[in-house]
């Protein structure tokens, strides 16, 4: 009886160690994926931003947000046209960021193809 209890306790400790290891592995994998997505997002951001004309930003009062959704092919090309989900209220700015998305096609691809996402939501504001 004593021995069985000791064995049971050992199994529970081993299991907890395994579960802990699994959680850590899971967290590391998640962090790696987050970093990969952040790195990919950052390259997309830089490319699209580099195609937004300064004069379009200058004319906008305040800092309203425009939101577009794009569908990508695995090559990074924008499939069809960007879809405006929310207007900034300023047509000139909406048009300018719409064109900037198209200008930026094909968008950069993620380092790891497994991180590829088919749909991107792009949220634009004229000021930081």
């Amino acid at each position: 009886m004593q021995q069985q209890l000791a064995q049971e306790q050992q199994r529970i400790r081993d299991q907890m160690i395994r579960e802990q290891a699994e959680r850590e592995r899971l967290a590391l994998a998640q962090a790696a994926r987050d970093r990969a997505l952040a790195e990919w997002s950052s390259r997309i951001r830089a490319k699209i931003r580099g195609n937004i004309p300064s004069q379009a930003v200058q004319a906008v009062k305040g800092n309203p947000e425009a939101i577009f959704v794009v569908t990508l092919l695995p090559t990074g090309e924008v499939l069809g046209n960007p879809r405006m989900v929310k207007s900034s209220g300023n047509k000139g700015y909406d048009d300018a960021v719409y064109r900037a998305i198209l200008r930026s096609s094909p968008l950069p691809k993620p380092e790891n193809p497994a991180d590829f996402r088919r749909e991107l939501e792009l949220r634009f504001r004229p000021q930081d």
Partner: protein, 432 residues
Amino acid sequence: MFAARSPAWVRRLAGVCLLLAMAVSAPAGAQLSIEITGAGLQRIPVAIVPFAGEAAIGGVTQIIRADLERSGQFRALEIPPLPTLPTENSTPNYPEWRARLADALLVGSVAARPDGRYEVRFKLHDVVQQRDLSGIAYTLSKEQIRATAHRIADYVYEKLTGERGVFSTRIAYVVKRGNRYELQIADADGAGEETALASFEPIISPAWSPDGRRVAYVSFESKRPVVYVHSLQDGKRSVVANFRGSNSAPAWSPDGKRIAVTLSREGGSQIFLVNPDGSNLRRLTTSTAIDTEPRFSPDGRWLYFTSDRGGSPQIYRMPANGGPAQRVTFEGSYNVSPRPSPDGKSLAYITRNEGKFQVALLDLANNQVQIVTDSDRDESPSFAPNGRMILFATVIGERGVLSAVSSDGRIRQRLTTSGGDVREPAWGPFIE
């Protein structure tokens, strides 16, 4: 030895494994959200294909390229050697031009007509959205080539920025060469300089009438400051204000029916209104200070002016038909030469900043001030009629030169004129 049912820990572990499996194969279809702020494109790249047949008239393409590049908002791409150049009748290979990083493509042609005139046609294409932005065909004489090229540049500018272009506008300025003063009128690109007035005494404060047909100015040719209105079409001029003392600082009302002037006829320097023919004089300001440099707001309701009534030169504003004045500038101890922007939302002026005289912009809605130049002796700011550029005079190496800065301070230009000491610039209106 083992129970028929799996022990609890096995079931838990199995549960954890299942959870892991779900997490690792996270739905690749989930949306990734990316925030993008600001802007990074300074100059829109445009491919301008040399207009076919332009050798006959001496070149249209070069003027268009220069206009667009000078605006600071476009970059003309090098056109690679191509077996066949696109014409205004063919549909361009958009993906090919996109691969050359062109945002837009301009093509055109020049053809001689049997009657001695010429036909210039062009087509503008939006390479990004892969569509035709239309074009125009002009019939013109050889003398009208430059004007036509400027109009094409305006068309391209408007289609691609949404703002009106100013390439067809004119500027006025005063050049001092030796002991001679000349009031010059030139195209916005500095070409086509014409002398409206030459004198051995100073000429200052040129001011364009709203219709662009006349220029008011102050001339010292009779050894005293007198305000004239000069017709550009026939060179005829009339006196607006020739009262005893000083007559200066003319400014047209937006409807062209009145001119505000600074007169010292009643002692001090005060602001009056007068008709362009010199009749109907009325006094507007009633202070014991120096009130001068009047400028109407674009809606005609307000008059901005410089005054030292508060002890230092500052900018004030009063109702254009008379009434109490309110102070407008509060930063710094020296603010002069108010110039309301064409949209009425901001005010350009000259401020003394750490001993340097620089161009500043005041946002009239939130009172924020931005100093847009970092030079030393700036004066006479003048807005382009689309509000995007501000022309001003500054001093470089002891010589007066003309400069321009964009209203966000980002684009700077030095204007080349034909030499001499250049001052007192005034940007003319859109010519309808």
